[in-house]
Symmetry: C2
Subunit: 73 residues, 2 copies
DNA sequence: ACGAGATGTCAGAGATGTTTGACATCATGT
DNA sequence: ACATGATGTCAAACATCTCTGACATCTCGT
């Protein structure tokens, strides 16, 4: 619905790297719904800052490891 | 309006540190309105991830230098 | 063949973030 | 005294993000 975001992320990769972590697992850990995880993995929109922090924490990595913002506009 | 956020920020400090940067200046640079800058500086809500990235870029610092997320919940 | 788990789609309702515009206060300089 | 710029408040419209729930597809194990 929203305009596609410029922010990219490595959520899916990190999730697999973390072992048997499913979308539902991650959603639980972060405290959001599976829908939201799906939408983010697909880059349909960028999450709120709070959620971005929580996701990074779920993987125990800094925020910049999960989300990237392209150089210029 | 929104529930107060857990995310804290150093926008105001960075703005002063950057010299004569006013709220309106920053808002322009980042592409948002002055209202939004005010609300964020006051911690009334946390910005979107995109905006957080843009703000960090406006100050030429990493995102974690501007926004912090407290340890636990 | 069947059931269960993981991923995905769709649509609508609800919550949060952003804009617009009008106006108030304080400090500064002329 | 007046004008200007910087900061702040308020309220309502608007945009974006998140949730709920129902359902489809694929894979895997039994």
């Amino acid at each position: 619905m929203g305009k596609p975001t410029r922010v990219t992320n490595r959520v899916r990769a990190l999730r697999f790297a973390a072992g048997e972590m499913t979308q539902a697992n991650l959603a639980d850990r972060v405290g959001v719904t599976r829908q939201t995880v799906i939408a983010i993995e697909q880059g349909r929109y960028s999450p709120s800052l709070e959620m971005a922090f929580q996701i990074a924490r779920a993987f125990n990595v800094p925020l910049d490891d999960v989300f990237q913002y392209p150089e210029v506009k």
